[in-house]
Symmetry: C2
Subunit: 196 residues, 2 copies
């Protein structure tokens, strides 16, 4: 970030110590996020658990908010767009993938982000990015299916995405019922049968 500021020495590209500290802090922050949510992460606690001094943390991030934002923004792993050659199996791969990812520990952070996004502008932007990534893969697959003629072009892709991601997130966060591969596939089948 600050690499452009002038230094007497040419410009330190990578200082091992810095990288090590940053990594330790971020790793601990992930763990704490998964365990306690956004509101439950304090700089003091991160310092304690990571072994990195609080002063050092503030040397790398200007504020608690910045640290949290940094940590959260690295959570969103962009899903690989599958290409099985068939719309239905592509969507199944995406849906099952999403369902499985929602079972992992860090998924606990998502409600935190959504909650905070209701009031915090920065986090709203982050949430929108997370959504865009997930949604992007679905849209790509759907449009490809439309080009192949597997799906009527008149159908709204956004509506299809909603009727796949929606039920999956509903199960994970709201109804808390079993969320397995079978459910994800059934949901995809539902979403596609409409077009018949």
């Amino acid at each position: 970030m600050k690499k452009d500021t002038k230094r007497k020495r040419p410009a330190r590209e990578t200082d091992e110590r810095v990288e090590k500290s940053k990594k330790a802090v971020l790793t601990t922050t992930y763990e704490l996020l998964a365990k306690s949510g956004l509101g439950g992460v304090s700089v003091d606690e991160v310092s304690r658990r990571s072994g990195v001094a609080k002063t050092t943390i503030y040397r790398h991030w200007p504020s608690r908010e910045a640290l949290l934002l940094d940590a959260c923004s690295q959570l969103s792993t962009r899903p690989v767009v599958p290409d099985t050659g068939k719309l239905r199996t592509d969507l199944e791969a995406l849906a099952v993938g999403a369902a499985m990812r929602l079972q992992q520990p860090w998924s606990t952070v998502l409600p935190s982000i959504i909650d905070a996004a209701e009031r915090d502008k920065e986090l709203a932007k982050l949430q929108s990015q997370i959504h865009a990534q997930m949604r992007g893969a679905f849209i790509a697959v759907i449009e490809r299916g439309q080009e192949r003629g597997e799906l009527a072009r008149s159908l709204d892709a956004r509506e299809i995405v909603a009727s796949i991601i929606g039920p999956i997130m509903y199960r994970r966060f709201f109804s808390r019922e079993l969320l397995d591969e079978a459910f994800a596939k059934k949901i995809v089948e539902r979403a596609l049968r409409v077009s018949d």
Copy 2:
């Protein structure tokens, strides 16, 4: 709550002062919840805004948690189960009703509750109650439809509920796209067309 404790005087059924204080506190708590979420509500702030002394608040609720739980539990208004005589219009009424309720200010609290429920047992119970109420109405309508033969009994009612509530909540909290009556109705149509 404490009405069973023995008093020298017969037992005060209703003291106007108590009712007034409680109401003022709860009202302010609602407002603050909608504005700042669960984590943003402090007893001091409620006291300041409501004009009720903090000591008085603690006279009626044993702790901050108890106050918040009390306030939240009064949020869940049980939806009236519609009876239009037709499954589809019943479901539409429920779906549109849910969508509209999700636009009101207090809906901001829901992500807070869901988030906290990931870690807090009490709030998990509350969330489960909120869900059960919403879901109950849907299930009732669906089962009635099955009895009338409008819907194959082989279909899983829970799956249908998921594919209606899911997309609606997805739009409200995750994609943040337009959530209107038309969308709600389209979702219901999707959920039912599968059975054809």
